[in-house]
């Protein structure tokens, strides 16, 4: 195929997309809509994951109780060992004094019964934040095996429950993203099929007067890519606008809750990437494939 033909083909694809305004518009709307669904869910799932992890992070504390017979250097070396664990994000030491205070608090106003007791019978402990909810159990097991550790407890009973939510959220998110991806591809490619169908006669005619399959197909592919591309641009603009608006409102505290969204700039590439890949690829390839059956004349 010569360069002048390539030039013609690209020009023809653009002209056709423009002359079939009505049809292009309907398909662009469909492409935009289905990309938006995918994109919205992508953003939501990223945010839900972020939020859940955030909540969990706050709760994912375990407490390692030292043997009360340990001396200070032993306790310090234990702290060092704990900090070495790759899943530990923060370690706070609870001194014997603090432990006593806590006890008093737990006993509420009856705390006074502890007055006069020496705090030395209470063990020192470490309140430890864990990076990743998934690993909490193994971390607990590891710490239990450390020498000088008397016991390891969760600060909250619901950690297991919560980490199951986190796990399921992730699984379901991925599943839904796959489904939505397929659905978008399905919808876009069938839309392209309809636009090609509307012009089956045109394709036939070109074939009848001797155009090669490639020559007929390429402008349609260009047209499909244009439709996909415009759909991607529009859906990206909409997504970006709404996301930043909502994010702005939330961070201004209008909803009255301390609810942080992920900054769009940190995920913008995923969104742009998926939109343009889906839009243009499916538009172009869908066009090329749909046209095939009308070429057999």
């Amino acid at each position: 195929m010569k360069i002048r033909t390539t030039k013609y083909i690209i020009k023809d694809g653009i002209i056709n997309a423009y002359r079939n305004k009505l049809m292009s518009l309907a398909s662009i709307i469909i492409v935009t809509a289905s990309l938006l669904v995918f994109g919205i869910f992508l953003l939501i799932s990223v945010n839900i994951k972020y939020k859940i992890d955030d909540v969990m992070q706050k709760q994912l504390q375990i407490e390692v109780y030292c043997d009360s017979k340990l001396d200070e250097t032993q306790v310090d070396s234990l702290e060092v060992q704990i900090q070495k664990n790759q899943y530990v994000s923060d370690v706070r030491k609870v001194t014997k004094e603090e432990a006593l205070e806590r006890c008093k608090k737990l006993l509420e106003e009856n705390g006074k019964i502890l007055e006069g007791y020496d705090q030395s019978f209470l063990p020192e402990s470490f309140i430890i934040k864990i990076k990743d909810p998934e690993h909490i159990k193994s971390v607990v097991e590891d710490f239990k095996k450390l020498q000088g550790v008397d016991d390891v407890g969760f600060l909250e009973d619901n950690v297991v429950e919560l980490s199951s939510i986190s796990y399921w959220t992730r699984i379901i998110s991925i599943l839904i993203l796959i489904i939505l991806l397929s659905v978008s591809i399905f919808i876009i490619s069938n839309t392209i099929k309809l636009t090609v169908f509307a012009r089956r006669r045109e394709i036939n005619i070109m074939k009848y007067i001797g155009a090669t399959d490639l020559f007929i197909r390429l402008p349609f592919i260009v047209e499909g890519i244009i439709i996909g591309f415009i759909g991607a641009v529009i859906s990206f603009v909409i997504t970006y606008y709404f996301y930043t608006t909502i994010e702005g409102q939330v961070s201004k505290g209008i909803v009255g809750e301390n609810f942080n969204f992920i900054d769009i700039n940190s995920i913008v590439l995923y969104v742009i990437g998926s939109y343009f890949i889906i839009g243009t690829m499916v538009g172009g390839i869908g066009s090329g494939i749909s046209i095939r059956k009308y070429l057999h004349v």
Binding site: R4, Y208, A211, V297
Partner: protein, 235 residues
């Protein structure tokens, strides 16, 4: 140039459109296909273009055996033939100019050549003023002439025209037929399916008459109606 060997065409719905057709049209010939409505003229043309496939028999066109050729060679066959379809088949989304230019673009002609040749051909069929109109903005006869212009633009070795004057007044028709005759003089083989008795009679060219899918007459310098029984079959 075009050869039918014992060709039968049975359409899918059971219509027998052609049966046992033998026919040979040589390079430089000018032949009319005539016959009543539904006698198989367009089917003959569709077989030449491989728009339809034969049920039996072979069709050889420009050296291609149309019945057995590979799918990817079809465009080459069609490009070697200029065709005026009975239903015109103009591209609705393209202007008159673009429709004619398209036939040159598919053979990858030079843009300069396209810009030179298309207006010339449009002038020849009397449509210079309509270059930027779309097909649905044309009268029936104008559309027919665009179809003719498109068929002519690549200077094909074989020109096949199905009813090329059906929507034209006698004067314009004559202009077109003279044009075809001139082209024929320059060596192009021409096949015209037509109902116009007056044209066939005046031209005195080869006449191939069909009836119910069979050739009932094939006569050099023939008339629309058969006045000379001696010429009944010639091959």
């Amino acid at each position: 140039m075009v050869k039918f060997e014992n060709v039968t065409k049975l359409y899918e719905n059971g219509t027998l459109a052609l049966s046992g057709v033998n026919l040979k049209i040589n390079k430089g010939d000018f032949a009319f296909f005539i016959g009543p409505s539904g006698s198989g003229k367009s089917t003959l043309i569709k077989l030449i273009l491989r728009e339809e496939e034969t049920t039996e028999g072979d069709v050889i066109v420009n050296g291609f055996n149309v019945s057995t050729m590979r799918r990817k060679d079809i465009p080459h066959l069609r490009r070697s033939i200029g065709v005026v379809f009975q239903d015109f088949r103009l591209l609705p989304g393209k202007t008159v100019y673009e429709n004619v230019a398209f036939a040159m673009q598919i053979v990858e002609a030079m843009p300069k050549e396209i810009r030179r040749r298309v207006p010339m051909i449009l002038g020849l069929v009397g449509l210079s003023k309509k270059a930027s109109a779309y097909p649905n903005q044309l009268s029936g006869g104008e559309q027919q002439r665009v179809a003719l212009a498109r068929a002519l633009v690549n200077n094909p070795a074989l020109l096949v025209a199905d009813e090329p004057t059906g929507n034209l007044d006698p004067e314009t028709s004559w202009g077109i037929i003279k044009l075809l005759n001139d082209i024929n003089q320059m060596g192009t083989t021409i096949i015209v399916a037509t109902h116009e008795k007056s044209i066939v009679d005046a031209m005195k060219k080869r006449v191939i008459a069909l009836s119910k899918g069979e050739i009932i007459r094939d006569q050099e310098k023939g008339l629309y109606e058969n006045e000379d029984k001696n010429h009944e079959i010639h091959n």
